[in-house]
Symmetry: C2
Subunit: 386 residues, 2 copies
């Protein structure tokens, strides 16, 4: 074990939280039914619109991301609506599980994990029957590292008067996302990813079409009742007690992001992601995702190695947390995040730790190739900028 | 400027402070004339003895390290005492300045900066005249990165019934130091180096010989009166209001060090220092210090470059603080600390930042050579341990 042992997160959530944000969260709790808190809610609601690239309300919910995924289904569900969960990983599966839990009508679009979507397959699903279709999909499928082409899916959806609901939990603030321009109907996200907060807050925004559809839903719901939440939000209030300190911290985090500018943030993530993929390739390893997201890089580990063991070794020896594979990818991939408050030097440490891990488990490669490539790509990107 | 921009200290003081220590310091201030505080003082005083490797009291003073350097001189000074400041850098100079400020009798032993001491030169100084000699020297001369051979100097001092006073401000907790075994008379240190605290506390310990000598001193002093401080300390008290929160934080930091074991801490520092020197050499650069300390590595920068510019560039672009040269070394060297809470990955980032700096200023070298060497040396050291 390396000394001094420090814990560092290179996982695709939770991600590291800046000191300024932690200190905001540590300020004395204030009461939520006050003008002071309402003015904070007003400020963060406006800033969230910029992050979501929408003119719609962005509702803040005290839950994990899964809570607002459920909220989307629970509020849309009604007779004559058929959900199309796009399932190419664990978080696509979650959409399918929620529709099933609610007894909704649904028709899974099954994808090979790691592979992006064929639009024709989606078109086939949209054609079936007369019910109103609601596509449930993912900006970044965290389990595989795939970024789906949401923009094209949304434009296909419009052809069929279908709605598209996007889980942007890990993708928001990393992968490009333009809710209004792309015509997305519901976008959900969570706090512990690109927004650089601890877990505990979730966000959901509805288009006018989604808003009018949820008004005719009679599915049981209470905590996640979005009509109630929307009414409160229009008065800069919340229906239930909000996670006050987290919302105060959110204000600080959003200010940091908007100081940089959301398009710059996307560009920075794309840049660091590209460098990371080059570094991985220079170790002789293959990136798993066909259309890789800027939030994380998923890496196929040679068959002789167990990625779970790698992840454990790296955490125990170096204090650096990377993620392993989930479900059918368990043991087969590692996942390195370059998300939120993670910068080039954090990734440099992560790649060095992976090199030490590969060396420890007897994989043959050129020591230092990954970190050298990162330096080279960084200098190249500086040149491109100049 | 890299984003997200994070500040990281690779300077030989202040050094990074562990979160546990910062959180201890953030606890509610308690009153100092209480049993609760006295029991904390008792605990840290015992732990400091282990760090100093002494059975003597270790006094805690609210000041910077310079304060306890002054305390040593102010309390020893008297007719018939002649100080020998060993001056091979900025902190040796400070000893000379203090003796001068006090109007003491002194005889500087001037060394070339970066070079270690020739014991014969010291012997010559000890031979002169009849007055009692007090050597004022430095464990790690922070301005040059030299570690002086304190053990041999102390044994030479004994031959002449001379006293030896050691500035271990940056060296304590990094370079080996054994106050009692080596026969050191006064050792002083500060909080913001190997002890992993913010600046604000200083420490001083006196041998029996030093204790009896200060009793006959009549030089003016009040805040730094060590007889008064010693009497208070024997009742686990302080003569003046102590920096309460820092002493609470000190308890946490000392526990971390002693959990690892002081000899392990020295070994770890020596190991990381050796790796850093190898990394520097692989960039074609020369280590400046002849007998390098484990606290920091001083590196000669090629004449075509200005080290001040390098330091500014690295801080501005990457948020990483390394030190430049002081006084006659200004512009000529950079100094990289591997001290206290700094670990392998911090040094890896530092060396990468230095590579980017060298590249930026047009120095020709093999990109990645430094960080690769660090990886190689780390794996070698793991093998040696196994």
């Amino acid at each position: 074990m390396i000394r001094p042992y420090k814990k560092s997160l290179l996982t695709p959530g939770p991600t590291p939280v800046p000191e300024e944000v932690l200190l905001s969260q540590a300020e004395s709790t204030i009461h939520h039914r006050t003008d002071e808190f309402r003015s904070i809610l007003k400020e963060v609601s406006e800033d969230l619109k910029t992050i979501f690239q929408t003119k719609n309300q962005v509702l803040i919910v005290s839950s994990s991301g899964t809570g607002v995924m459920e909220a989307a289904v629970a509020n849309l569900m009604q007779d004559g609506v058929r959900f199309i969960p796009v399932v190419g990983g664990k978080f696509g599966e979650r959409w399918a599980e929620i529709t099933k839990a609610y007894g909704a009508e649904y028709d899974v679009l099954d994808l090979e994990w790691g592979v992006t979507l064929n639009l024709d397959d989606l078109r086939e699903k949209l054609k079936v029957g007369d019910s109103r279709k609601v596509i449930l999909t993912t900006l970044c499928e965290t389990s595989t590292g795939v970024n789906y082409d949401i923009r094209s899916m949304a434009s296909l959806a419009k052809e069929f008067n279908a709605l598209i609901v996007v889980d942007a939990i890990s993708g928001l603030g990393a992968d490009e996302l333009r809710m209004d321009d792309w015509g997305l109907d519901i976008v959900v996200s969570g706090s512990q990813k690109g927004l650089m907060l601890p877990p505990g807050l979730a966000f959901i925004s509805l288009s006018k079409d989604a808003q009018s559809l949820i008004e005719s839903s009679s599915s049981p719901k209470y905590y996640f009742d979005l009509i109630k939440a929307g009414k409160s939000a229009s008065k800069f209030d919340t229906p239930w007690t909000p996670a006050v300190n987290m919302i105060v911290a959110l204000r600080t985090a959003l200010k940091m992001i908007l100081d940089e500018g959301i398009e710059n943030v996307w560009k920075r993530h794309a840049n660091l992601a590209a460098m990371t993929r080059e570094a991985v390739a220079s170790l002789g390893l293959k990136v798993f995702a066909q259309r890789p997201s800027s939030t994380l890089t998923s890496v196929l580990i040679p068959e002789s190695l167990d990625s779970e063991e790698m992840v454990k070794f790296i955490r125990a020896e170096f204090g650096i947390s990377i993620a392993g594979g989930q479900a059918e990818l368990k043991g087969k991939i590692i996942r390195v995040a370059h998300l939120g408050y993670i910068n080039l030097f954090d990734v440099l440490s992560g790649i060095a730790a992976i090199e030490f891990g590969l060396h420890h488990f007897g994989y043959k490669f050129k020591l230092g190739a990954g970190i050298l490539k990162l330096e080279e790509e960084f200098l190249k990107s500086c040149k491109d900028e100049a």
